[in-house]
C-alpha cells in the first residue's frame, strides 16, 4: 500500500478531513464551452472570511488544500490568501488557466512553496484551444505561463478535457506537456452544470471514440489490464466506500457552501453560518453520504461490474439518486470492457443521458517514513 493511501486510511479512521477543494471565485477570464459553472459573482467570501475559514480548516487537520475556481488569479487578494494558507502549512495545489501568470507571479508561487499547479490546456493547436476558451491568444499566454512556472522549478500538470471539439488532439497535447516538462491528465468527462443543466453533455465524445481512447497505451498503460473483463462484487467490495467524498475530502464554494465534492453538489451547510468542523462532524447530509456502501445500491450491488466499477456518487446524485447508478460510469465500464452494466441493460432501447469517464495520469506522490526504532532515541527508516 502506498504511503499516501495508508495516510488516507489513517485520516479516515481518525475522522479527519484530509483534503479540501476550495473554489475562491466562479468568475473567469475564459468562457470555456464545457464549463459547469455560473461565472457571475453572487457574493463571494471576503478576504477575512476566507482567512478565517483557512484557520478553521488547519485546526480540523486539513493537509491538502486545492485552490481553484473560476480563475483564482482574478481575486485581487489571491496572494494574500495564499500567504495565509502557507503560514498555516497546508500542502497547496492550484488549478488555473494561468493566463495572468507572468515571471513575477511564477517566482512568488515558487517562494511560497506551492506543491503543484494544474493548468487547463485543451489542445496543442492554438486555434482549437482558443475556440474552446473563446479567448483569442489564451493558448499563447497559458503556454508562456507554463514556461515561467517551469523555469522556477515548479511542478506543472496540464489538464486536458476530451470533448468533440478536440477529440483528435490529446496526443499532441500530451507531447506538448512532455516538451514543457509538465505532467498530463486527460479527462474525457464533460460534467453537468452545477445547477443541474445537462445541455453541455452533448460535447462528450462518441462511445466509439471513447473505446479507442481506452485502448491507447500511452494513456492507460496496460490495455489488457485496463480493459479487463469486469469483476462482480465480493463481500469486501460490498462494504467498501465509493470514494473519498465526504469521508476524507470535501468541497467549499466561493459562497461558503459545503459539499462532499465539487462534483457532488449536495449542500451540507455553509461555513459562513457554521464552523467548518461542525459541518464536517455533524451534517446529516454528510452522515448519510458516509453511510452508503455498495450493498445498499440495489442496481450496482447486483451488477457484473460491481467489483471493478468506479461509480461516482456525485454523478449519481446529479442524475437524481445518490444511491443509484451513475450512467456516465456505466458507459465508461462498457467502453472499457464491452459488457453492459445492469443499469445499461435496464435502459436498453432508451437514450442514456451522458458519457462521462475519467483517466488520471497525475504522477504519484513519493513517500518515505521518518520514524523511531526501539534501540535509538531518534532513528530514521525509509
Amino acid at each position: 500500500m502506498s504511503l499516501m493511501k495508508e495516510i488516507g486510511e489513517r485520516a479516515l479512521g481518525l475522522g479527519v478531513p484530509f483534503s479540501v477543494h476550495l473554489d475562491l471565485t466562479y468568475r473567469c477570464n475564459e468562457q470555456c464551452v464545457h464549463c459547469y459553472l455560473d461565472h457571475n459573482d453572487h457574493g463571494e467570501m471576503t478576504t477575512a472570511e476566507i482567512k478565517h475559514l483557512l484557520k478553521e480548516m488547519a485546526e480540523a487537520g486539513v493537509f491538502i488544500l486545492t485552490l481553484s475556481g473560476g480563475e483564482i488569479f482574478l481575486r485581487k487578494d489571491f496572494f494574500e490568501i495564499l500567504e495565509c494558507a502557507r503560514d498555516l502549512t497546508f500542502c497547496i495545489r492550484l488549478k488555473t488557466n494561468a493566463v495572468l501568470i507572468r515571471e513575477a507571479q511564477a517566482a512568488r508561487l515558487r517562494d511560497l512553496g506551492v506543491e503543484s499547479i494544474q493548468v487547463s490546456i485543451y489542445s496543442h493547436r492554438p486555434e482549437v484551444h482558443d475556440t474552446i476558451t473563446k479567448v483569442p491568444g489564451s493558448f499563447r499566454r497559458s503556454i508562456n505561463a507554463i514556461r515561467f512556472l517551469r523555469s522556477q522549478g515548479l511542478k506543472v500538470v496540464i489538464a486536458n478535457v476530451l470533448m468533440t471539439e478536440n477529440m483528435h488532439d490529446y496526443r499532441g497535447a500530451h507531447a506538448l506537456a512532455d516538451e514543457l516538462g509538465a505532467g498530463f491528465t486527460l479527462d474525457p468527462t464533460v460534467a453537468p452544470m452545477m445547477d443541474g443543466d445537462r445541455s453541455i453533455l452533448n460535447l462528450n465524445i462518441h462511445e466509439s471514440a471513447l473505446h479507442d481512447t481506452y485502448r491507447d497505451e500511452s494513456l492507460v498503460g496496460s490495455v489488457e489490464e485496463f480493459c479487463a473483463p469486469p469483476r462482480p462484487a465480493d463481500e469486501s467490495n460490498m462494504e467498501s466506500l465509493p470514494c473519498s467524498a465526504g469521508h476524507t475530502a470535501c468541497y467549499v464554494s466561493p459562497y461558503g457552501e459545503f459539499y462532499p465534492c465539487v462534483q457532488f453538489p449536495l449542500s451540507c451547510g455553509n461555513v459562513r453560518q457554521q464552523r467548518f468542523i461542525d459541518i464536517w462532524r455533524n451534517s446529516e447530509q454528510l452522515k448519510e453520504v458516509r453511510s452508503i456502501r455498495l450493498r445498499d445500491l440495489s442496481s450496482c450491488s447486483q451488477c457484473a461490474h460491481g467489483g471493478s466499477c468506479t461509480r461516482c456518487p456525485g454523478l449519481a446524485f446529479m442524475e437524481g439518486n445518490m444511491r443509484g447508478p451513475s450512467t456516465q460510469d456505466c458507459e465508461k465500464s462498457f467502453a472499457r470492457t464491452g459488457i453492459p452494466s445492469a443499469n445499461l441493460l435496464s435502459k436498453k432501447g432508451k437514450t442514456s443521458p451522458a458519457r462521462l469517464v475519467q483517466i488520471q495520469l497525475v504522477p504519484a506522490v513519493t513517500g518515505s517514513r521518518l520514524s523511531g526504532t526501539g534501540s535509538r532515541a531518534i532513528a530514521i527508516a525509509s
Binding site: F63, F90, C91, I380
Partner: protein, 102 residues
C-alpha cells in the same frame, strides 16, 4: 567540544499533525514524510534560535528514558536527514529567517 547546531523548519514545507505523527511534504520533489512522535517534537520546537542540544535536553530527555549524549547523536542524524530533504535548515549560528532550499 562540538559546535552548537541550530535547526529551523523550512518555510516551503507543508505539515500537519495526524494522530500522534506529523505529515511533512517538501515542495522540493513533492516527497511526503511521516514523522514519529519523537521526530515530531524536534520538528515542532525547531525555531532556529534554540540550540539542538538544548532542544534534546528540554524536550526529548524529559519525555523519554534516554541518555543525553545518545539522544543528541540521534537528533543530529535526524536533523541532517531532514535537512537533506529540504525539511529543516541547519546552521552553526541562530537562524532568524530560514532561507528556502533551492
Amino acid at each position: 567540544m562540538n559546535k552548537k547546531l541550530y535547526v529551523a523548519r523550512s518555510p516551503r514545507i507543508a505539515a500537519r499533525k495526524l494522530g500522534e505523527e506529523t505529515l511533512v511534504m517538501s515542495a522540493q520533489g513533492s516527497t511526503l514524510f511521516t514523522l514519529n512522535p519523537t521526530a515530531t517534537i524536534l520538528w515542532q520546537v525547531a525555531d532556529g534560535i534554540t540550540a539542538l542540544d538544548e532542544i534534546v535536553e528540554r524536550h526529548i530527555c524529559s519525555e523519554f528514558d534516554v541518555k543525553l549524549e545518545e539522544a543528541i547523536r540521534d537528533a543530529e542524524a535526524l536533523a541532517a536527514e531532514l535537512s537533506r530533504h529540504g525539511i529543516l535548515v541547519i546552521s552553526e549560528k541562530p537562524i532568524t529567517s530560514p532561507k528556502s532550499p533551492t
